[in-house]
C-alpha cells in the first residue's frame, strides 16, 4: 500500500457527506454532481442559479483548501489528450444514462439505501478497475 492517507481521506469523506446532507435537508436536492451539471443542459426555470453556485463552490472549496493547507500537493494527469477527451465523453454520457456517479449513486444513493445505486456503484467500480488494469497492466507500452 503506497501513499495511503487514511486520516485526510476519512476527514475529506466526512466533509463530503456533511455537504450532501446539508444540501438534502435544506434544499431537498441530491448532491450528485453529474445530475447537478446535467440539469444545466436544458434547464427549467429556477434550476440554473443553484446549480452554478454549487459547481462554483466545488472550485472555491478546493481553492480554499489549497490556500489554507499551504498547497500540499500537485495533481497529476497521466493521459494523452485523446484519452482525456474519450474519458470525459464516457463519463458525461455514462453518468447521464446510468443516472449518477460516485457522488450521486455512491455517496447519496448508498446513503439512502437505494438498490439501484448499490448496483450502479458496484458496476462502475468494477469497470473502473478493469479499465485501469487494462491500461496499466495489459496494454503494451
Amino acid at each position: 500500500m503506497e501513499n495511503f492517507t487514511p486520516y485526510s481521506a476519512l476527514a475529506g469523506g466526512v466533509l463530503i457527506g456533511l455537504a450532501a446532507s446539508v444540501l438534502l435537508i435544506a434544499n431537498g436536492r441530491i448532491a450528485g454532481i453529474s445530475g447537478v451539471m446535467g440539469g444545466l443542459l436544458a434547464p427549467a426555470k429556477g434550476e440554473v442559479a443553484w446549480r452554478v453556485l454549487f459547481l462554483a463552490g466545488l472550485v472555491a472549496g478546493a481553492l480554499l483548501y489549497r490556500w489554507t493547507a499551504g498547497d500540499p500537493y500537485a495533481i497529476r494527469f497521466d493521459a494523452s489528450w485523446p484519452m482525456i477527451v474519450a474519458g470525459g465523453l464516457l463519463v458525461g454520457f455514462g453518468t447521464r444514462v446510468g443516472g449518477g456517479c460516485t457522488s450521486g449513486h455512491g455517496v447519496c444513493g448508498m446513503g439512502r439505501l437505494s438498490p439501484r445505486s448499490l448496483v450502479a456503484t458496484c458496476v462502475f467500480m468494477a469497470t473502473g478497475g478493469l479499465t485501469v488494469f487494462d491500461v496499466r497492466h495489459l496494454a503494451a507500452g
Binding site: G13, I16, S21, I84, G87, G98, G99, S103, G128, F133
Partner: protein, 146 residues
Amino acid sequence: MAGLIIALASGTVFGAGLALSQMANPAKVLAFLDVAGNWDPSLALVMGGAIAVTLVAFRPTLKRARPLVAARFFVPALKEIDARLVGGSALFGAGWGLIGLCPGPAFASLAFGMRESLVFIAAMVAGAALARLLPRKPLPEDAYAA
C-alpha cells in the same frame, strides 16, 4: 436566496472535502482503481467517511414532509435496475478508469489550474449532451429524474 447560499456553501464544503481527500488528484484515484499495482485504499475511506454521514442523515431527513428551505424533495423516482443503469454505469466507470476523474473531482480540480481539467469537463458536457439524444423513459407527472 437562502437556497442559493446553501447551494454555494454545500458545494464549497464538498469541494474542500474533495481537495482534502485528494480525490481531485486523478493519480490518487487511479492508484485506488489499480488493484494490481501499488494499491492505495484511500478512496475507500473517502467513500466510507461520506457514506457513514449520509447513512445517518438521509433516512430521517427523507421522512420529513419537506426540506427546511425548498418546497419539496427532489429525489430520483426510478426504481428498476435496468440496462440503462448498468450500461451507463459501466461506461462511466470505463471513462473514470481512463483518467481518474469523475464529475465532482473534475470541477474541484479546476482549482489546480490545469488545462486538462477544462478539456475533460468540456468532453463531459459533450457526452452528457449526447445522452439526451437517447429516448427517455416516461415518468409519472411529478417524478424527478436525476
